[in-house]
């Protein structure tokens, strides 16, 4: 369990709502956040997979980069991230990383081009809570004249995730139900003007909803009034994303891991792979050509013992260390332990046997394909 931070904790606009619901609050990335509600992590996880879970992710950083025209903004951003930003169509969202000069990852983020032509020229970013101050300083310091970073401090971010998330929004008459996965736009939701994207961090279909902070509690309450919706804490958010094979910054990716080592080459489009032009491009291009020294893989223990972050991964033949578990625990949908970690390229084939050193004892495990639980993104909505 997390230690109490020494500096005063920040609160999201939904802090009082969490307490009213009986949430267990913990410090997370400087915020006082709900780790679980009375239902508990298992029930919350399973509810999200079967119905719709409502998450407060307002601790995450929302910001825009504003400038004279989209191409200028996109070029400035491409100097900081390896994704193709120039190629974004209106209303398209991409996952990317802020990289450092050595090709390590400073943070991972979502980047969205606004849906309509009429709007002011900007690109919308969502970054990790624990990285946002450093991210904003890094971005602002690297923007050319005429562009500016605008922090969206007055906004809350809610996520509705699960197979019934679309039904919940449909019942509220929201046009966002017609979005495809990784598309976004401005919509009216229960009388509030919201920026909504069809994306999330659970492997399920779902939506992330940016709303003005002063409307957050009203929207939260309205969404919770739907019988298919229950509030979900950070505990289940972590087990859901782990089953979905998604990286958690500061654990599975950090300033030493490259996007290629982390298996995120899918997030670097062809033109950027060829042209480079982002920090650490030399390393990324070399690793694309020659392969990285280590690769993030999924791991399935053969027994029931969970292998947590920091667990050593050993070669069963020699007993020598291969790498380290970066995230691990129990997957409620999988109904068993699961983990991810880094191993040399010689040990990445699915089914490769390894040992996980749990409390001094080697436990047999196998390299497994990710996601551990099939994702259910809706790429072409009806």
């Amino acid at each position: 369990m997390a230690d109490t931070a020494s500096s005063p904790l920040l609160a999201t606009p939904l802090n009082a709502a969490h307490r009213t619901l009986g949430a267990k609050m913990v410090p997370f990335a400087g915020y006082d956040m709900p780790v679980q509600y009375p239902a508990g992590v298992l029930a919350e996880h399973n509810w999200t997979r079967s119905h719709a879970g409502l998450f407060d992710v307002s601790h995450m950083g929302q910001a825009t980069i504003e400038g004279p025209d989209f191409a200028t903004i996109a070029r400035a951003l491409e100097a900081l991230v390896p994704a193709d930003i120039l190629g974004l169509v209106h209303g398209q969202q991409r996952y990317s990383q802020l990289t450092n000069a050595e090709g390590g990852i400073l943070d991972d983020l979502m980047i969205t081009r606004p849906a309509t032509l009429e709007e002011a020229q900007y690109v919308y970013l969502v970054v990790n809570a624990g990285c946002k101050e450093a991210d904003y300083a890094h971005i602002a310091a690297n923007l050319p004249q005429g562009l500016r970073l605008v922090r969206g401090e007055d906004r809350a971010l809610l996520a509705v995730q699960g197979p019934r998330a679309v039904d919940v929004l449909r019942r509220l008459g929201c046009g966002a139900v017609d979005l495809a996965f990784m598309r976004a736009g401005w919509f009216d939701l229960a009388g509030h003007r919201c920026h909504i994207s069809r994306s999330g961090y659970t492997g399920e279909d779902g939506f992330e909803i940016s709303v003005k902070a002063d409307a957050a509690e009203a929207l939260w309450t309205r969404l919770l009034a739907d019988a298919d919706v229950k509030p979900i804490g950070l505990g289940a958010r972590d087990s859901l994303r782990l089953e979905a094979g998604l990286c958690l910054y500061g654990h599975d990716i950090d300033t030493t891991t490259s996007p290629i080592e982390a298996g995120l080459q899918w997030s670097i489009q062809k033109r950027r792979r060829e042209e480079g032009g982002f920090p650490g491009a030399a390393r990324v291009q070399r690793e694309l050509r020659e392969g990285p020294y280590r690769v993030r893989v999924g791991l399935l223990p053969e027994g029931k013992a969970p292998a947590r972050e920091g667990t050593a991964i050993l070669d069963p033949a020699t007993g020598l260390p291969l790498g380290t578990v970066t995230s691990g625990g129990f997957g409620p949908t999988l109904n068993g332990p699961l983990a991810m970690g880094y191993v040399p390229p010689t040990h990445t084939a699915v089914g490769t046997p390894v040992h996980l050193l749990v409390r001094g004892k080697p436990h047999p495990a196998r390299v497994a394909a990710m996601p551990f639980v099939p994702n259910r993104y809706v790429r072409s909505p009806k």
Binding site: M1, V35, Q36, G40, L42, G235, D238, A305, P306
Partner: protein, 124 residues
Amino acid sequence: MTIRYTKDHEYVRVEGDTGVVGITDYAQEKLGDVVYVELPEVGAKIEQGKQVAVVESVKAAAEVYAPVAGEVVAVNGALPDSPGTVNEAPMGAGWFLKIKLANRNDLDGLMTEEQYKVYLESLS
């Protein structure tokens, strides 16, 4: 019936020369949904205060320390397949193991129910 508690939230319920060991309601509540329990071998000799079992929730792993020294004479074989019993009945069906007390004086250093209640209040 004598029940004694540790500061790490284990209990030992003394039945004759045997102590039934588990974690308290406070501990299960703090831990959340238990998904894994690791128990010692029957016959293992355990020192007081040393790790004797492991309990894990979705969120975290915790060690269970022996409240008393002695030989493990039984373990709750139902727990590994239904670890949620620890949440449902920590003081009952969710017991972990039974230790044949090597030294009854071990109990003297532990808290009574009354003392444990006061201790819990001091934590909140």
